[in-house]
Amino acid sequence: MEAAGGGGSGPPLLLSDAEQQCYSELFARCARTAAVGPALPSEPARALPSTVTAAAGPVADLFRASQLPAETLHLITELCGAKRVGYFGPTQFYVALKLIAAAQSGLPVRIESIKCESPLPRFMMSKNDGEVRLGTPAELHGTKAQIPYLTTDKNAFKRADDGDKQQETQSPTMSPLASPPSSPPHYQRVPLSHGYSKLRSSTEQMQPASYEARQSLAQTEGTSSGGPGAKPPRLQATLIRSFSVERDPHDSSSHYPDEPWRITEEQREYYINQFRSLQPDPSSFISGSVAKNFFTKSKLSIPELSYIWELSDADCDGALTLPEFCAAFHLIVARKNGYPLPEGLPPTLQPEYLQAAFPKSKWECALFDSYSESMSGSQQPRDSHWSEKTSVKDMADFSVSTQDVTLDDKQASINTTDDASPKDVSEDPATPKDSNSLKARPRSRSYSSTSIEEAMKRGEDPPTPPPRPQKTHSRASSLDLNKVFQPSVPAVKSGSLPQPPALPPRPCPSQSEQPAEAEVPPQSSRAPSQASESSPTKKDIPYSQPPSKPIRRKFKPENQTPENQELPPTVGGPASAPSMKLHPTVQKQSSKQKKAIQTAIRKNKEANAVLTRLNSELQQQLKEVHQERIALENQLEQLRPVTVL
């Protein structure tokens, strides 16, 4: 039938050969079923001898199997004229099928649609009716398997063989499909990297197992996935930029219509593990190059991978966070199984949805549990800016603003201005804090502590006044005065504070006296000899200096010898007193603070005494030196008039 305009129901219908074949087959089936099964009460009279009609029952079933929404189906039946005429004649049936095909391709349902070149409609029958799959031949513009969801019943390996057999039996019945049943397993055993081979085997079992799962589950959804197994070889042959069709299952249990794009728990676990193998920190990024190498192992073509990346990298920053990675991985898995890539990222794969859908506590527990394992086996410098990102992330609240953090990181590392990605409002604010604290502690152990983490630590210890450690550190960096001063802040503050600043001046007087000593004689010699010529003064100075030097040197041995028993310990005392004071103050805890203070006071007094003694002795020596100097100068003056002449 080239032009079936007999019904007068619209513009002439032009069918291609494949369409003709399919449609006639479908029509025959419906008619047959009508003849066999009980027809609806309205129907029997309609079985006109001239035209074979398809009963409304099976036709309705068929239409429902196309998985279009009910309104669309109503519209289609109206348009095709069945309602008007009251029955589904061949014309109406074919028009309806064409409209269904158009609707499944996403075109609006209109009479004009039947003019367009559209692919064959797809119907998913329940298993009871036998698996009927009408696919297209090699040109696969819009027709792909309608698979409601990508179930991963990895454990249900039971009827793998049955599934294959069923696949085999059904494939001959599929009119245009001639793909050998051996090819799916063939395809699926394509050798891949270890990461993928595991997935391969699981998906291999997944597909036949999915029959099982779906059969048990799919009473409302008539599902089958005979297609995906048979499809991949064809897909491999033709490099396709395929466009999938919006599938609206009549199952209203899920919030989102795109069931194949829903990630199950097992899948999520797997993806998280894979993520961790690439990047130990679950809340950090995978860089573009790392992800590229990983995804290239999936043996998908580069344009397809490029497209998948485009879909999954929602913020277009050239790096994948965990939800983005899961989405990308899921798309790759779907693509490998024959699902066409969607036009846009399905709502179930969006990062916000992925973060919100799975409870954070589960994420965190899963991550936290295996965190220690991964840390041991991880290669830390894998990502160059990994540590920076994670240190920034420590502060961020994981659930609410992972994207905030990604924004921060982006700005830090890439310096691009991105639009603020929509923030995911955390549904359970309690768990993020727990998770944050959970994560913060192990993190602070392993990562290099940044100023942010120190601030966090300090914030957690209210009694610790932040500036204090720095003061003490500047005093004696080798000694950790934090431990000393932290707990005893209120009690000891007044007493202990004066000590450290008081210590340094103590050695200085002893030292400053000596240079002062050296300077004083020259100055004193200069002063009396200012009246005289400058040269004698200069001579005096060197003269006086050597006396002062030996005097100084004398001082030192004097310091050490006359005060043998006293001074060395005392000089050593002042020198050691500070250190001694530090040591006891450092070593003692808050309970021994008073003792420390007392000992410190005692020692201070001792040092004071020593220094005063030293002072007095030095002053005596100074006087003696003065006198000697005066004597020498007198001699000089006496001698000078003789020499001048």
Partner: protein, 139 residues
């Protein structure tokens, strides 16, 4: 609404060129090619001036009877050339600038894709969609 949009690489070969499907598309290709000379002239006009001081938007490169050609250069010497219809008088400079900015942003997103090798032709679907939105809608 542009009639033709082209992305030219630094070495002056096209990374992406798309025109409104008319009968004589080659004419647009030729126009874009000739406009490259004007672009180079404008770039080098600053001479010793720093690249930073050079503005990215080059403005009207040259007008013809039917069309006007606008140019935009990125800091990596990738050029965007846009041909618009002269009859479209409502199109103002600001709109052209915003179109170029959108092009630049989409181009940056394409660049961020690790599977894209710089120098390849651009096949990104998002980029295509954006360009389609900018082109004159021919039914």
């Amino acid at each position: 609404m542009a009639v033709c949009i082209a992305v030219i690489a630094k070495e002056n070969y096209p990374l992406y060129i798309r025109s409104v499907p008319t009968e004589n598309e080659l004419k647009f290709h030729y126009m874009v090619h000739t406009s490259l000379d004007v672009v180079d002239e404008k770039i080098s006009a600053l001479g010793k001036a720093l690249v930073d001081q050079r503005e990215l938007y080059l403005g009207l490169l040259y007008p013809t009877e039917d069309h006007k050609v606008y140019g935009y250069v990125t800091n990596s010497k990738v050029k965007f050339v846009m041909v618009v219809d002269s009859s479209n008088t409502a199109l103002r400079d600001n709109e052209i600038r915003s179109m170029f900015r959108k092009l630049h942003n989409s181009y940056t997103d394409v660049m961020c894709n690790p599977f894209y090798n710089p120098g390849d032709r651009i096949h990104s679907r998002a980029f295509d969609n954006m360009v389609t939105a900018m082109m004159i809608q021919v039914c």
